[in-house]
Amino acid sequence: MAQYILKRLGLALLTLVLLSLIIFFAGSVLPSNPGRLILGPFASQQAVVALNHHLGVDRPLITQYWSWVTGVVHGNLGTSSQYNLPVSSLLLPALGRSLKLALVAFVIVVPVSILGGVLAALYRGRFVDRSISITGLSLTSVPEFVSGVVLIVIFAIGLKWFPVSATPPPGTSPLGQLHYLILPAIPLVFVLFGYIARMARAGTLEALDSDYVRTAVLKGLPNRVVIWRHVLRNSLLPTITVIATQTGYLIGGLVVVETLFNYPGLGRLIVTAANNKDFKMLEAGVLVIGIVYLVATLIADILYTVLNPRIRYEQAE
């Protein structure tokens, strides 16, 4: 099993290197003249050349890539051109706030969608199943800012249950902060619900059709015991993988939600960086999103191996 994990780790590292190349290509190769993009068409050529030199973008591309990558490995993400501050000093607090919002969404979506998927499977083909499946499919396909707007109109402006912005005034208690984060978390929950529920449904159906469940039913076990002890244990295994992969996308969805709800997290930082042509900040922000995704899938792979006895035994042999 250690060998398997090492192999996954190696693949993840390889993917990370390729990802860094793609990000570098988009953020440092495509913008041919960042100084001009930042200063605008009316700045003097001299000022543009000076800024390009200051940003270090007049160096050969290989030197630029190498200094960026070695910097990242040492925790130095470069200097933000819009704030003239180290990128990491802005990025880390923003990432912390984003993770807080993501955690709220996660805590809501995992139990709700697993419950939805299992219910749909238990009532296969009937009204409950159809409505859960169609609702999930529809919610998943609607962009976060669209459902966010509808939620704001109903729950913040109409019913006044929640604030319109996600940023609490300073000094708000943790529970008060949670109140500000619930409404922004819901669009993220909507998008993830469909995937996780669909996977949980498929896993449960597969378990329900299996021989061991038929045996359990035939030997007279009560339904509740069959479902808890035999069905759920086996059906939730593939769901774990989907949940972990979706975590990465959850961080991506934050770009939209944080903009809509004016929340100072990683997503809004990336959008601000894009608007100000702050390419170092943009590269670092996107790289962090990629790393979060890769770590989440790696954890999912390992968890799956640890939890699935079939893989465990195969490896041992």
Binding site: L19, Y195, L260
Partner: protein, 333 residues
């Protein structure tokens, strides 16, 4: 988003895979009775095998169309989509007001008999903007998806057919791109290149091409070992002929499913990019951009400027997903 986007790939292709596997099993049953040495006989039976594959789950058939027309989810989705296509084509003629020039007196007016959906902060009629706003997104998203499907089919056929190093190298690149949500990848490239309709189409098309290639590759790998491919090789057909004339017609089912599912994602992506300010550019009426311009007035109570474009996006993506879901159900079963 998902893109998920997030990526839905693990779901749809696996389902497609199951159906292909079942097709393959029936094929093996046929193959048992063959003498592998008898080339002529193999070719002859392979032709009959091709016939079997054609009638299997992987292809689009007339009875499938009939099944679709009986599915209520498909009909609802198609009706909504048709309405927005009519708006996209005849928008300017249907719209009660000019969507770009606003009234100089009626700013932020609530919905009324004169302005059903109210007016926005520049005095423009929201209903007219919603109707005309269907146009650009319904040009950009389908073209991007078409480009992605063509590209993904070609890459997937090459990967699945040649396997080996080509396959594993391009697979790694797809992995790296997949580590980011589609919206973020598109965002990353649109920012330095600047946003215009052709650039949006190319970027989204390229990313989707990579994603679609995965599904096509899996489907091609399933077909690869079937006798009709071996027979074509023995007939000394060119690689291109085998890929595009022999294999391609047998994997149209999964490709069609990918196209409809991705179309929903393309609309998701274009709308999101517009909302972030990097999609369809003003003054062209666009739902995402209109929401981006008006959501700051939500707190002031001007909800109609934001809500109606939002409902338009929601209805369009849900419609396409209903269509995609019913096509998937018909093609897979």
């Amino acid at each position: 988003m998902s893109d998920q986007e997030r990526d839905d790939a693990p779901l749809a292709p696996s389902a497609a895979l199951t159906s292909l596997e079942s097709a393959q099993t029936s094929m093996e049953d046929v193959a048992v009775y063959q003498d592998p040495a008898a080339v002529a006989m193999l070719t002859a039976t392979a032709d009959s095998v091709t016939g079997t594959v054609d009638s299997s789950a992987g292809t689009i058939r007339r009875e499938n169309v009939r099944l679709l027309l009986r599915s209520p989810t498909f009909l609802i989705g198609a009706a909504i989509l048709l309405w927005w296509i009519v708006c996209a084509v005849f928008g300017k003629a249907i719209a009660p007001y000019n969507p770009v020039t606003g009234s100089l007196t009626a700013f932020n007016e609530a919905p009324s008999g004169a302005h059903w959906f109210g007016t926005d902060s520049l005095g423009r009629d929201v209903l007219s903007r919603v109707i005309v706003g269907a146009r650009d997104i319904l040009v950009v998203a389908p073209l991007a998806t078409l480009l992605g499907t063509a590209l993904g089919t070609t890459i997937g056929l090459l990967q699945g057919y040649f396997r080996g190093r080509v396959d594993s190298f391009s697979g790694r690149i797809v992995d790296a791109v997949l580590a980011l949500p589609i919206v973020i990848v598109a965002f990353l490239f649109v920012v330095p290149l600047g946003s215009s309709d052709p650039i949006l189409i190319i970027i989204i098309g390229l990313v989707f091409g990579l994603l679609i290639s995965r599904t096509v590759r899996t489907a091609v790998l399933q077909e690869q070992d079937l006798d009709y491919v071996a027979a074509a090789r023995l007939r000394d057909e060119s690689n291109a002929h085998i890929m595009f004339v022999e294999i391609l017609p047998n994997v149209t089912g999964p490709i069609l499913v990918e196209f409809t599912v991705r179309l929903g994602y393309a609309i998701f992506t274009v709308a999101t990019l517009s909302f972030l300010g990097f999609g369809i550019q003003p003054p062209t009426p666009d739902w995402g951009a209109d929401i981006s311009n008006s959501y700051q007035y939500l707190a002031a109570g001007y909800w109609w400027e934001t809500l109606f474009p939002a409902l338009a996006i929601a209805s369009l993506v849900v419609a396409i997903n209903l269509i995609a879901d019913s096509i998937e159900a018909v093609v897979i079963q």
